[in-house]
């Protein structure tokens, strides 16, 4: 079992003829993902890696039966692409695009909710259910199928953590990169609850960073509602206040969003916080009694 995507998930790629879209469409196909179509306005009728390209999401859905879309379009077209997918009836959207203005995302977030859409991202690496499906840009081969769920705001840091899990023999059920922006579609709490209810997941690794208070809310949720063990890691313990650390969301401002507050929230919730990524497998094994 896994959450959100599996071997039956039929995926279209919005922005498939672009540099990133075409590269990752090929890489997802190679991993075994059912990439059934792509969308680029004005380029319908072409093929990319053997996958048919359509002018609109609606056409692509009608022809392919897709249920999931991954978006690679440039930031100024991202809101349009999100709404087009939602209007066409896609229920799972993964937005890789980085640089979508925050106020546009505020509107998109609420619009997509009224349409009953689950959005992952934007500015995220996507997600993978190892051995079943990859809808994202992560290197597939560092993953291994298993029972650990992974949730992270980061990209390469997630690879680092997953690599350490796999090396230690701990496979993953699903790994989700939720994105590094201040306004994202799906947060920690939504995913913790999905993992809690997924029979294929036995434990969860949560990777957070400075900025906002999502980790604090996740800690509250874990304390009140999770039975499965969770191990956390927080990056940015040495980051100075007021400076944006790459991600738009990774900034300590007005005394909020510090690493100390997040570490403390997890410790108060009984969640061990690893000092380094390679300490995570050990902490997990202690908790699941391996």
């Amino acid at each position: 079992m896994s959450i959100l995507i599996d071997e039956r998930t039929r995926v279209i790629v919005q922005g498939i003829t672009g540099r990133d879209g075409s590269f990752h469409a090929a890489s997802m196909l190679e991993y075994g993902t059912k990439v059934v179509g792509g969308v680029t306005p004005g380029k319908g009728g072409q093929t990319v890696s053997g996958v048919p390209v359509f002018n609109t999401v609606q056409e692509a859905m009608a022809e392919t039966g897709a249920t999931c879309s991954i978006i690679f379009v440039p930031p100024k077209f991202a809101s349009g692409a999100l709404r087009e997918a939602a209007d066409a009836g896609i229920k799972n959207i993964i937005c890789i695009t980085e640089g979508v203005p925050i106020l546009q995302m505020v509107e998109n977030y609420h619009y997509l909710r009224t349409k009953g859409v689950r959005l992952i991202g934007p500015n995220c690496p996507g997600l993978i259910s190892p051995g079943k499906s990859k809808v994202g840009i992560m290197p597939g081969r560092i993953h291994k199928s298993g029972r650990v769920g992974v949730i992270s705001r980061s990209g390469t840091l997630t690879y680092e953590v997953v690599y350490n899990l796999t090396e230690a023999g701990l496979g993953q059920s699903t790994c989700v990169g939720i994105g590094g922006d201040p306004i994202i579609g799906t947060g920690y709490v939504d995913l913790l609850s999905l993992f809690e209810n997924d029979s294929g997941t036995g434990a969860v690794v949560l990777i957070g960073e400075i900025g906002g208070e999502d980790e604090e809310r996740a800690a509250e949720y874990i304390k009140s509602s999770m039975t499965k063990p969770v191990v956390a890691f927080i990056s940015g313990r040495t980051a100075p206040p007021g400076k944006r650390m790459g991600h738009a969301g990774a900034i300590i401002s007005g005394g909020k969003g510090t690493a100390e507050a997040k570490v403390k929230a997890f410790q108060d919730a009984g969640v061990p916080v690893a000092d380094k990524p390679d300490d995570i497998p050990g902490l997990l094994k202690e908790r699941v009694g391996d």
């Binding site: 925050i102 505020v106 290197p139 990056s235 650390m245 738009a248 990774a250 990524p277």
Partner: protein, 381 residues
């Protein structure tokens, strides 16, 4: 992106919000001329992109144009939190009956724009939020329907007390929200929002921040950018497509990905070292980027050692290795270099490095331990 108070005042004015008469001045003479034009008492305020200028002596009252010139000279000689004061705002000194706080921003948790107001203005809102949170009133804006007018009127009555002030306040809030949306601001703040003896409310100070993701959509906003917001290195990095923040340690870091870059800094600290910077080379791996990154880093004279940590995904290890080799040849790197390469095309990357006599570690903790040792050797030498 941050802008100065005088720039923020201009924007508020353009949106129809009243600000006391005033102008920016770059020299004491200019300040005097502005004071003459305004007439009467003025306030001279340092224009710097950091808070705490009042405590640093950057805000002074002046009773005459001569006095304004003298006060401007004193303030223009100041350096506030390492930023030299290059401009002052000279504005009419106003008599204030009461100070309010008003702002518009995006609430990350609620995923909505919110109006924030307090009848206890003039102080740091963060301090107030901790000490007396009940004095802060928040109004949520429906992202699709916009501001609920009746709700806003009721909110302003609670905030301002009397109906005359409330209707001015509601009007200002509507204008601030329009400004926030139209220019992709992350914050529009007026503090104090000052009540004059005649009962009018004016913006006695102004702070506007922009969402960096929105700036490219607005050429007129980009024009307001102040180069001093970032260090020279930060600007050079930005131009090369790198994300860079300088810190005060002695171990330079080059990492791909913001989360991993932060974690690398943290692990350096954990092993007793001190990171000199945050540097994310980004996703697409162009060897030139590694060269630029190393050039920026080696400009820092405090540096004792460099760590390159790459987890290849989209970034290819062979591209990174080529960049390192190119940099070795072009800038004759003298500092100890510790490399950690793993992920996409790592074997190819390792081979390229080996040919040049460079080794790369696979394990992050090992690499960090090594670079911390090298930096210590450098400190002794």
């Amino acid at each position: 992106m941050k802008i100065h108070e005088y720039q923020a005042r201009d924007l508020l004015k353009a949106y129809g919000i009243t600000v006391p008469p005033g102008k920016v001045a770059a020299t004491p003479k200019e300040a005097r001329a502005v004071a003459e034009e305004i007439g009467g008492g003025v306030v001279v305020k340092a224009q710097v992109l950091v808070g705490g200028r009042g405590k640093a002596g950057g805000v002074k009252l002046a009773s005459s144009p001569e006095d304004a010139e003298a006060k401007a000279k004193a303030i223009l000689d100041l350096t506030i939190k390492e930023l030299p004061v290059e401009k002052v705002l000279v504005a009419r000194s106003i008599e204030i009956d009461k100070e309010f706080y008003v702002s518009v921003t995006v609430d990350r948790a609620k995923k909505k724009a919110v109006l924030i107001g307090s009848a206890a203005g003039g102080v740091e809102i963060e301090e107030l939020a901790v000490k007396e949170p009940e004095k802060i009133l928040i109004f949520e804006i429906d992202p699709i329907a916009g501001i609920d007018q009746q709700g806003l009127d009721a909110y302003c009555k609670r905030l301002f007390g009397n109906p005359k002030l409330a209707s001015q306040g509601a009007d200002t809030f509507r204008k601030m929200y329009r400004l926030l949306k139209e220019k992709d601001c992350s914050l529009v703040e007026i503090n104090p929002y000052a009540q004059l003896p005649d009962g009018t409310l004016v913006a006695a100070d102004a702070k506007i921040n922009f969402d960096d993701n929105g700036v490219p959509l607005h050429a007129e906003v980009e024009k307001m950018r102040n180069p001093e917001e970032y260090s020279k290195d930060e600007i050079a990095a930005k131009e090369a497509g790198l994300s860079f923040v300088s810190l005060d340690g002695d171990i330079g870091c080059i990492v791909n990905g913001a989360g991993l870059a932060m974690a690398t800094m943290d692990i350096i600290k954990l092993f007793g070292g001190n990171p000199a910077n945050f540097l994310d080379v980004g996703g697409s791996s162009n060897p030139e980027k590694v060269l630029t990154a190393l050039q920026i880093l080696t400009g820092n004279k405090n540096l004792k050692a460099i760590l390159i940590n790459i987890f290849g995904g989209i970034t290819r290890c062979d591209d990174i290795a080529n960049g390192i080799v190119m940099a070795q040849k072009q800038i004759h790197l003298q500092l100890p270099l510790v490399i950690r390469l793993i992920g996409t095309n790592e074997e190819e990357g390792r081979k390229i490095l080996e040919k040049e006599g460079l080794a790369a570690s696979e394990n992050l903790s090992d690499a960090v331990k090594m670079v911390v040792e090298r930096s210590r050797e450098g400190q002794k030498a």
